[in-house]
Amino acid sequence: KRTKRAKKGTKPCSLTDKQMTVSQLGLGYISDEIILFRYCSGKCVAGRRNYDLALAKLKGQRFLTRENMKRARHSPCCRPTEYEEITFLDNHSQYHTIQEVSALKCACV
């Protein structure tokens, strides 16, 4: 029987967005212009490869040192596979285009 929490967390890896000012991106650009920042989030359970299953088993049986275990991920990560540029006018009347700021496609990698 699945708990409520488990059900809630099964949203698959997908593109999400948030409206924010360019300044809020923290990239050092000062602009009050609002852009749509797209990012990837969600679970990657369905995308587990044999690699992941085998690694999980390995970790469970403590074949690896504690240090190595922590760093070896046994499930795919939800990450962008394509990015998008953003263009804006800053508060000093300069246009900027910054590459690869926003996600365009997501995948479990």
């Binding site: 409206q19 300044s23 009050d32 609002i34 749509l36 263009t87 804006f88 006018l89 246009y95 285009t97």
Partner: protein, 215 residues
Amino acid sequence: SVNACNPCLDAAKACNLNAVCKRQRSAYVSACSRSTPITLSSEPCSRKRCHRALRQFFERVQNDLSYPLLFCSCRDKACAERRRQTIVPACSFEEKMKPNCLELRRICRSDALCRSRLADFHMNCQTTPHSITSCPNDNYHGCLVSYVGLIGSDVTPNYVDANHANITISPWCSCRGSGNQETECEAFLRDFRENACLRNAIQAFGYGADAGFLP
């Protein structure tokens, strides 16, 4: 820093949230910024490419997203400066030298598209004393469409400064060196700088007053 009231910033937001507008804006900003290997190092950009990208922007983006970027109503300098920067004037508008306006008109008339766009502007933005709005048939929208039609042409007009209280529009030219054609040159320039129809149409845009004058 939350900006209290900047309609030009709102217009930028609306464009950023629309895929087509965002892409097309990005395209013209890039065309109007990047210096290509072909151009001399003294030139900041390729004016030709910039003008083409600007024309494409206004052709491909729906008017309710593109017009507010250009005609947003401003109550302060920051807003008016943003409005002035819409067409990337450093590349599309300003030049080292200011040519004579009649010479600019001659260049425009030698190009079929520019000639027809300029004729449209003179027809639709001609100040008329017999209408309430100073515009022919009280058609603000028609005047704004004709104005936008000139952007990306040889007579690309723009706001001359970031004055929010008193709008002055002009192409990048002067009437110095007009010789015996000075009167004609001044008349041409006045159609931009002292055009009550154009000014009213721009000022009315931000307040939604243009809606009633659609043809």
